[in-house]
């Protein structure tokens, strides 16, 4: 299951935080753990270069996209490789929504659309859509082109 998707700005403030199957009392712990992980490791990392960590039996893949950092947490079948796929879908769809690498402002301007995009990609912890062009159409309630 994909346990969490989290976006933070360069100061570590949360922009989007979505959990699946994580008890409320553990969420704060995860939030601070991920932000700390990013603060320690993301400095100087190239856009979309994927970093990886594991914490107990849970995997974390994270990266930088413009001014925001993106974290995806998973367990079981969503190991580091599946999460790499998930984060790739997320980053390419977010870039697509923003038209370029997002600044924090641009990200917030497109906030509603980004929420819809995430809703198309992950549904309660499962990967649902993977193609950015299809996702772009789906958030506008348009059917996929290949159909």
């Amino acid at each position: 299951m994909i346990l969490a998707v989290l976006f933070a700005n360069s100061e570590g403030n949360i922009l989007v935080e979505r959990f699946n199957g994580v008890p409320t009392e553990e969420r704060l712990h995860w939030r601070s753990f991920l932000v700390k992980l990013g603060a320690e490791n993301l400095k100087g990392v190239k856009n979309e270069e994927l970093l990886v960590a594991s914490h107990k039996s849970v995997y974390i893949v994270y990266t930088v996209l413009g001014d925001v950092s993106v974290y995806v947490v998973g367990k079981d079948e969503y190991d580091e490789l599946a999460l790499a796929e998930v984060i790739f879908v997320i980053t390419s769809a977010v870039k697509d929504v923003c038209g370029k690498l997002p600044t924090e402002r641009l990200f917030l301007d497109k906030y509603g659309r980004i929420c819809l995009t995430l809703d198309e990609i992950i549904w309660q912890g499962y990967l649902e859509n993977t193609d950015k062009d299809r996702i772009r159409r789906l958030v506008r309630l348009k059917p996929p082109t290949e159909f």
Partner: protein, 886 residues
Amino acid sequence: MAQPLVKKDDDRDDEADYSPFLGIEKGAVLQEARVFNDPQLDPRRCSQVITKLLYLLNQGETFTKVEATEVFFAVTKLFQSKDIGLRRMVYVMIKELSPSADEVIIVTSSLMKDMTSKTDMYRANAIRVLCRITDGTLLTQIERYLKQAIVDKNPVVASAALVSGIHLLQTNPEIVKRWSNEVQEAVQSRAALVQFHALALLHQIRQNDRLAVNKLVSSLTKGSVRSPLAQCLLIRYTSQVIRESANTQAADRPFYDFLEGCLRHKAEMVIFEAARAITELNCVTTRELTPAITVLQLFLSSSKPVLRFAAVRTLNKVAMTHPMAVTNCNIDMESLISDQNRSIATLAITTLLKTGNESSVDRLMKQITNFMSDIADEFKIVVVEAIRSLCLKFPLKHRSLMNFLSNILREEGGFDYKKAIVDSIVILIRDIPEAKETGLLHLCEFIEDCEFTYLSTQILHFLGIEGPKTSDPSKYIRYIYNRVHLENATVRAAAVSTLAKFGAMVDTLKPRIFVLLRRCLFDNDDEVRDRATLYLNTLGGDGAVVQTGEDVKEFLFGSLDIPLVNLENSLKNYEPSEESFDIYSVPREVKTQPLAEKKAPGKKPTGLGAPPAGPPSTVDAYEKLLSSIPEFANFGKLFKSSAPVELTEAETEYAVNVVKHIFDGHVVFQYNCTNTIPEQLLENVTVIVDASEAEEFAEVASKPLRSLPYDSPGQTFVAFEKPEGTPAIGKFSNMLRFIVKEVDPSTGEAEDDGVEDEYQLEELEVVAADYILKVGVSNFRNAWESMGADCERIDEYGLGPRESLAEAVNAVIDLLGMQPCEGTEVVPNNSRSHTCLLSGVYIGNVKVLVRLQFGLDGPKDVAMKLAVRSEDESVSDAIHEIVASG
């Protein structure tokens, strides 16, 4: 009111620091949500308010029940709008609010309408929302539409229904299971994602039907799977089928070719999945492992951290079971020690520590030293634990490894890290006699500047036990006495106890210890003063150089042979009165014992499940338990207790396992019984043992278990006499006999009358290995030479055709039940000869060393030369006899 959202234009980059959500406040946004009730809806404005609500929720903000209900009712009004963008937002918002059952009804009709709409995308979204908020009753109403949706031409609709199915299976399995025909059809879909989702759902529906999973895997491995994600699932299901198929013969292992073929897939995800599946095969052979290891090795030098991590993580796991298979990757792995990603570096190091040989230890330690300074404590602990195992594997390297541990002990670090190091040093001191003195000095230096009271007291206690047995105990006194000056009361009290132990054990030190203890009489803490007074009196007030009495030593060093739980209970029940508390009134019998590990065949945990718990009891605990039973009290010292042997299949009515306790002239079988039927109470439980196939054994005592309630394990014992000091062997058949009483489930009370009943258990064997203790030696060659050739016995044996050399080596190790030394139990790949060194203690406390030389004679035949040295030639002969008759 919060700032309205501003539409982004390209020329506004200079306003980057201005957030559209600046000053956003829940109360204000909830007020704004009233626009949803306007008769003339403004879709743009409504979308903006929903975005703000989403922003709040995505920040971890929560709505109260009233707030959520209010917003939910308002949002449902938005179904009136035909604006597509707004409709999409409404779907998300309803899912986020996840309304309660009584509210759902408000939107059901709108969603049902959308679900039967001609617009595909309305259908897909309505399905997702309905399935999120639905309950069983509503689900039966919409089931028909969902089944149609699964086979819908539009892949988005099909996927929406399938993923809904995956979620609904958790709550309404009986309904979703009815969809398997449609799901089966969707597995054949040309749309890659539909196939992926359908495969996941179909497997979940049929996961308990082994035949169906087998069929599914057989058909898909031949056909075409369209997405890498689905291919990964298929690999996982395939390995499940392989695991569950009884045939583990490598030659005709089913589906191996499929897995091997996946190693050449273009998607990295698939390659890894296949490589992992191969490395996790039961009894995997070198031939099967090699291609998987080769691809993993290539990924070790990938430019992508995720791939390096995945590769090193997999190899790390392989190294636990097949260290030799990973040695080829050591050079690549060494370059990962300096990897920027600390998770990768730690995994690389721990793998290297598992696969390295004795000669590479020093070089490795040098590399690790540089690495340790810049990783977090959690990684350091992993490394420390790996170093501890390495040191136990190569005891000759204890000097450099111990130095390493003492160096890192001096550096900065948190409690858990320091505790891991101290624990490691203590274990090394216990297991490697040569490391004792240096290890103790390292610990002494550590407590000179230790900020953790817990660790200081633990070390002081350990020093008190080990220090007096060293060649020069006086050198530790300074470190201990310094604690009395410099530390807090807890540590000071511990130091006083340690000093007393030195005084009791080393007669020559006694006068000086007395001087120090007397100084402690003026301490400002009660406990410290009390201890000093107590010890001064116990050890004999004048402090002359006299031998300390055995009872005093017992008082100072003896363990509290009363279960702490029992003591706690007795103290709680004790009412202060004239009569003082009598420690001898505390019962010594351990009431319940945790269940021993079940022999559960079949399912292996997937992913990274916690490892199964180890055996629940240590020899110490067994010894205490047995000595508390009067019938066994005169059997002497317990020589060995076996691991629990299961006498019942998993999941039977009564679970029974047995532990064999070997004494010099007796054997005691401890039957650990568990009653798994809530409606039954068993009483007077005994095991009737038939020893007709164990001629040298004669039953002398049996201790029944008075009562065995549901799920509360208990023990019954049977003791046998056997010829003293000899390794008598035999087979025993067992029958559980008891009185069964019905229990009323509502009251939990048992009926008065019971019926006698019996339950057949499996047979039990006492074998030669039960008479040998696994005791390692740190330097086998020294031990071998100092033992001398006086009682040496050498002979050669043909072991016949064997699957591999490694299998033959393991079989002999198991047969003898001795401790492999210096890592010689591991047979290098493709070798045609191997030497294995074993050590142990034979019953009667006779040390035994064994040198086994194996060679391949022809393609599969294994020949073995067995050389045994011991302190007693009859024992050397006995070892040969074990091998000859095994």
